[in-house]
């Protein structure tokens, strides 16, 4: 049996979900026997591969770049897992939604700037007006809430998904867990 191709993606989130993923510790070795990590902030691949079996996406869609990425990921992944509250609800990144991106940028780069106050506009991707969960852009197959989902949750869920065993997510985790 050929190994599954696993990708992990980091959109607008704090990387906590990835940290928690790594907290699987020795169980990662177990996982490595079943799947290859083909794309991830943790590995040195620049382009998202053409064919991925499982994509774990951390973070909300907050910029034009995020939006492009999530559409590409969806197009090239068989199973898309929204990993953690940011990807599922918008969570902390979405706290700017009621007041809009201008207010946030102003506070960060103008009001609180010590020198040369200016809003960065070159190279950095443009922010979307509203930060949204990824399922508002693409179809999501599995939702794994939590901030972050625990290592145990990752282990149980991934094992079930890889082996085809039944998976009861609400029994494992919840929003804010």
């Amino acid at each position: 049996m050929s190994k599954l191709k696993l990708a992990t993606v980091w959109l607008d989130g704090c990387s906590g979900c990835h940290m928690s993923f790594l907290d699987m510790d020795e169980r990662l070795i177990e996982l490595a026997e079943l799947a290859d990590v083909v794309y991830s902030p943790l590995v040195d691949t620049k382009e998202f591969p053409d064919e991925v079996d499982i994509a774990l996406v951390e973070g909300a869609v907050a910029s034009e770049d995020d939006e492009k990425k999530i559409r590409k990921i969806r197009a090239h992944s068989k199973l898309l897992i929204a990993m953690g509250d940011c990807a599922i609800t918008g969570n902390v990144p979405s706290m700017r939604n009621p007041i809009g991106p201008e207010a946030i940028l102003n506070r960060a780069y103008i009001e609180n700037a010590d020198a040369q106050p200016q809003i960065p506009c070159v190279v950095v991707p443009k922010l979307l007006r509203i930060v949204r969960p990824i399922h508002e852009f693409v179809k999501v197959d599995v939702f794994l809430p939590g901030c972050p989902p625990s290592a145990d949750t990752f282990h149980t869920a991934l094992t079930a998904l890889v082996t085809g065993a039944p998976l009861d997510i609400p029994a494992l985790t919840r929003f804010g867990a």
Binding site: R71, R74, A75, E136, F137, V138, K139
Partner: protein, 550 residues
């Protein structure tokens, strides 16, 4: 007051009328007034004085075909003049006794022939502020007869026999409701008249309250006698100042005549009515919300049971009916239940007043026997869609109702038939739409209304209508997806089944009925990003926010 005294008043009114050679009736309902009916009446009075003719110029309530206003009817010839203004006064007065003024006469025979007037029988014939004119047309006869010759149970029985169903929307059997309140235990009971005509596009109740206020008062008094109440409240929209004025005057006159107050007609029956003003909340048409509002509270509905018949206003057994229901009572008591039951269809008896508006030639008030085909109302009575446009749908039942398409127009109007079509009878608004109306936009309009009028107490209605509005807005601006449509249908189901009161439970109706009959318009908006009626402003190209990749 006795029957004899009543007859004496009627006789003196007739004698008074006989002093005149001619009668010129000027419709002074809102539509005609807004086109100079007052100036017209003043000019007629002046012209009559100048001419030296013996003319009785009377202001009346709504005559019906508002789009032809201002209206004038000359009696005894029954010549109806349309689009009359003050300049025509002289010609009209000059014509009295001779041939009618040809240019002004309108041909609305077809419009009137299909109608049967029970509720509106006095509108257009009496001065609404003259109680004696009402009495002269058999007014208060039913009340006095009931008080002196019938038992309260007898009155309930007569209403039950008539088959009358509530005209406010739900169509609950009136006799059954009265019987329940009559049987409820308690010394203090109330009768309440729901005059909070909230459906936008409906003005039947306003016209009745303004054109024939004593009909409502008499109906309420009969109800009070039947159920054993001694206090009544009329809850009227503050947006209807004329109705408030007419009812206030009507109550004052009825008290003066001894038709309200203590020991009415020398019987032990005591009854009086207070007016309570609404303050701009559609949800107060819902009976428990209305009662909360009369109690001076926020108009939020509460779960039923207990029904108001058992625990209503101030916790006492309360009978609530709407204006048109009460307006039907006196004729039923007078003429008998069977007389009423002979009109209408199998399970919907009597007549129904509709406010016919929108894209239709003859807008105004019509009263038709139940069971009449929608097509007859729209094409014959209403005169069809004007301006070379084609009929698309008729919306009945207000924001809680639905849009009925052309292929369903041969259905007879009844409570049950309209529900089967995905709409409701409602209070009687009938808004005609032609090919220039976008049904998605129409659904959005109604949901916006329900969203703004939701009281906010229960979650499905409060947040559900807001979500439905968001999704419908997406369709109208071209950013909606087929996933959104699925979500909308799912929301409709929860809002309909899980909401606390009628407002929420029926709020999805305009969406569901347009989805049922005009689904292709939704698809056009979503898939092809175009509005077939050209109403929605879809800016192409719109980036799909929620594109779904297979």
């Amino acid at each position: 007051m006795t029957i004899e005294e009543l007859e004496q008043i009627a006789k003196s009114v007739c004698q008074e009328n006989e002093k005149y050679d001619f009668e010129v009736n000027v419709c002074m309902d809102l539509a005609c007034s807004s086109q100079g009916a007052q100036q017209l009446k003043d000019a007629l009075v002046k012209a009559a004085e100048t001419s030296g003719k013996n003319v009785h110029i009377r202001r009346t309530g709504c005559m019906g075909p508002c789009s032809s206003g201002p209206l004038v009817r000359v009696d005894p010839e029954e010549a109806l003049y349309h689009h009359v203004n003050a300049d025509h006064a002289e010609a009209i007065v000059n014509s009295l006794g001779g041939a009618p003024v040809p240019d002004l006469q309108c041909d609305l025979n077809e419009h009137f022939d299909k109608q049967v007037r029970v509720v509106l029988e006095n509108a257009g014939y009496i001065d609404p502020e003259k109680i004696d004119e009402y009495i002269a047309r058999d007014g208060y006869k039913a009340l006095l007869t009931a008080l002196t010759e019938m038992t309260p149970n007898g009155v309930v029985h007569r209403i039950t026999e008539s088959g009358l169903r509530g005209r406010g929307g739900g169509g609950y059997p009136t006799g059954l409701k009265w019987g329940t309140v009559a049987k409820a235990s308690g010394d203090v009971k109330y009768v309440v008249c729901n005059g909070d005509e909230g459906d936008p596009g409906a003005f039947m109740d306003r016209s009745v309250m303004e054109g024939d206020p004593h009909r409502v008062i008499e109906g309420m008094a009969l109800a009070a006698y039947a159920v054993g109440a001694s206090k009544g409240f009329i809850y009227v929209r503050a947006e209807y100042p004329t109705a408030v004025g007419r009812l206030t005057a009507g109550l004052r006159d009825a008290r003066r005549r001894g038709l309200l107050g203590n020991n009415i007609c020398n019987t032990p029956f005591n009854f009086d009515i207070e007016i309570r003003l609404g303050a701009g909340a559609f949800v107060c048409g819902e009976e428990t919300a209305l009662l909360a509002s009369i109690e001076g509270k926020r108009g939020t509905p509460r779960p039923r049971p207990p029904y108001p018949a058992v625990s209503g206003l101030f916790g006492k057994p309360t009978l609530i009916n709407n204006v048109e229901t009460y307006a039907n009572i006196a004729p039923i008591v007078r003429n008998g239940g069977k007389w009423f039951a002979n009109m209408g269809s199998e399970r919907s008896k009597g007549t129904k007043v509709f406010a016919l508006t929108g894209k239709i030639a003859n807008t105004g008030l019509v009263e038709v026997p139940m069971g009449i085909k929608l097509r007859e109302i729209i094409e014959v009575i209403g005169g069809g869609v004007p301006g070379g446009h084609t009929f698309k749908a008729v919306q009945t039942g207000g924001p809680s109702g639905g849009c009925i398409p052309a292929e369903m127009l041969d259905v007879g109007v009844s409570y049950d038939a309209l529900v089967r079509l995905g709409s409701i009878m409602g209070s009687g608004g009938m808004i005609v739409m032609d090919d220039t109306s976008c049904m998605v936009n129409v659904a959005r309009f109604f949901i916006e209304f329900c969203m703004t009028e939701s009281c906010g107490k229960c979650i499905p209605c409060r947040a559900g209508t807001a979500q439905m509005f968001t999704l419908l807005t997406r369709f109208c601006n071209g950013s909606g997806t087929m996933d959104d449509l699925e979500l909308l249908e799912s929301l409709c189901s929860t809002v309909k089944e899980a909401s606390l009161c009628g407002l929420g439970q029926t709020a999805p109706n305009p969406v569901l009925s347009t989805l049922k009959y005009f689904r292709n318009e939704y698809i056009e908006h979503i898939v092809h990003k175009r509005c077939p009626a050209g109403v929605c402003n879809i800016q192409a190209p719109v980036t799909d926010q929620k594109e779904v990749l297979a």
